[in-house]
Structures are given as C-alpha cells and as structure tokens.
Symmetry: C2
Subunit: 158 residues, 2 copies
DNA sequence: TTCAATGCAAATCCTTTGCATCGTA
DNA sequence: TACGATGCAAAGGATTTGCATTGAA
C-alpha cells in the first residue's frame, strides 16, 4: 500500500542500507510495492513488473519478495483468504494497523488509530512475550454490504 | 486445540445438527481435531487419521476440513508462517483468543483474557464494519527464548 | 574482476477435481 | 433405495530450486 516516501527512505534505499545488491529488477519491484494502491500478490507484482521489463522472471519476483520479507521491509498477509490461498504484500507500516476484510464484497479497510499499539505493551506485561510483528485481520461485513445494497463480490466467501 | 466437550456439543454432534451426513471418516477427523493438544495441519490430520483407519484418503481430509471451515466449526490459521505455507486448524473457540508465535523456537501461546473481545465493539463503533471472525497473531520472542537459554527451534525464521 | 542475482525449466509441495464405487440416512 | 461421500489418480496452482549466464559493485 502507498507509503510516505521520505527522502532516503525508499525501499530501495533501505535495501541498499542492508547491503543488498540493487539490481534493476529489485528496484522495479520495490517501487511497485511502494506505489501500490491495493495489496498486491506475487502474481500481480509479476504482471506489473513485466509491463516495465519484459524479461523479468517470476522466480525473480518470488526471490525478491522473500528477500524483502526476510529483512522485515514488507509484510505478508492472507486477508482472511477472501481470495483463496494467495498472499498479499505491503510495505511494513510504522504503526500497527488492522485489516478489515469484508466477507461479502472483498473490500479491505485499514482504520486509523494508535489504540492498537497499546496491545504490544499489554501482551508483554501480561505474558512476558515480546511481540515484534502483529497481524490483526478481521473478517465481517462492511457498512455498505450491511446496508442492503449488497454488491455481491466475486469474492464472497460466506 | 483441546476443547471442553459438553454433552451434545461434540464436533460430530454439531455437524449432524447442520444436516451433514456423519461418516466414520468425518467422525474420526472431528475427534482428532477436538482432542488435539497442538494445532494440526492437513498433513498431520491425515497421518493421525491413518493410524486409526488405514484406508482414509488425503482428499477426504481436505474435503472434511473444508466442510468444517465452511460451517464455521473450525478456524484456519497460518501462525505467522513459522512453518512455511502450511495451514493449521482449531475448533472455533467461544471467545476470541490470540496466538503468540515465538519466532525463535516456534512455540505458540494462547493467553487468556476477555480484553480482546472489546475490540469487536470498538471497531464497529468507529468504522461501521461488523467483525465476525478475528484473527490476531503476534510474532515475537517468548520469555524463555528471551532469557538467553535459547533452544533454537527447527522453526527459527528470523 | 568477482560473486551474487537472474532467467529458464524442471521439480516440489499443497490442494483440488472427475469419476466409479460405496454406504449413510 | 438414493444421493451424497469416499478412494483413487490425475490435474492444478503457487512457489522453489539447480544451473549456466549476466551484471552490480
């Protein structure tokens, strides 16, 4: 999902800072992820990348996503499996946020709020477990679908 | 994960109540899920089932898990992908609980607490989105691993 | 120049499906 | 008995891997 791109903080910069060799392919994939309006899965990244570079290979996309994930620069989501087993990727946001996945139309909301951050501390105090990554996804009905004007999505799973 | 088995409330009973035909295979799989101490993936269910019934087929396991999932009797988890892309299953608990997945040793804690339940209402009031299913998984370090006596698990992913 | 990354193709892993047979309701 | 469920085998889809070649640093 689109991320604030402060100077010196692009994904590519952060990759370079980690000592990762910057190839045109990696730079391209990183840029696609940063500028994406929606969550992308590997296949989407691949197709978008091909539009800019006809020779880029699927394996490169998977390898680059794995690299980014391993360096904690992106997160992998499954969005309640509304789209089957596909995995989606987003540049790791600075603050915790939730994914509200509508089980009727498949839309994904990401409500604002620092409230969720407090969960980390709470869990640590109560259990001694120190959370680093939090995945909070809720499946339910968005207000539009609940209002009756249900535009039944291709992705209706319940 | 092990669930309180009140009379008339076994998974099999609930399947029957939903009009699902009870075959020995389904009864067996349901029982395995109810009595499991750990989260099971499809492959584990399959192997455990084979111990009791040598003729049971993988496809039957997958089909039964799909049935149970569709009826909301079990939930599907990915536990932060500590074990790769495998999915894990648990009988749907009556109250929301969290999965704390240690990224070092792979252990999974499920802390108690009704606190989390309040999130549903909060999200609804703030966004109009009505949550039905909540998946809350945190990856981090359990207190044991943080204490230094790190028993590096086969599942260390970071 | 050097070693890591890429493209390619084949392999792998998990899961699903078509179909004949079986067995629950 | 009848229709849904199973076993089997084969297909499918996503992701990974081995290897020769390419190219970033």
């Amino acid at each position: 999902m689109g991320t604030t791109t402060l100077p010196g903080e692009t994904l590519t910069d952060r990759l370079r800072a980690q000592g990762v060799r910057i190839t045109p392919q990696r730079a391209l994939i990183a840029k696609l992820l940063e500028n994406a309006r929606d969550h992308l899965d590997a296949e989407s990244v691949y197709h978008m990348a091909r539009r800019s570079d006809h020779r880029i290979h699927r394996a490169t996309v998977y390898r680059t996503l794995a690299t980014l994930k391993k360096l904690h620069l992106i997160d992998e989501l499954d969005l309640m499996h509304v789209e089957g087993e596909r995995h989606f990727y987003e540049v790791r946001p600075s603050t915790l946020h939730i994914h509200l996945v509508c089980l009727t139309c498949g839309s994904v909301q990401e409500p604002e709020g620092r409230f969720w951050e407090s969960m980390k501390g709470k869990v640590f105090r109560e259990t001694g477990f120190k959370p680093e990554i939090i995945r909070l996804e809720m499946g339910g009905r968005c207000s539009t679908c609940r209002s009756g004007k249900v535009r039944k999505g291709k992705n209706k799973i319940y």
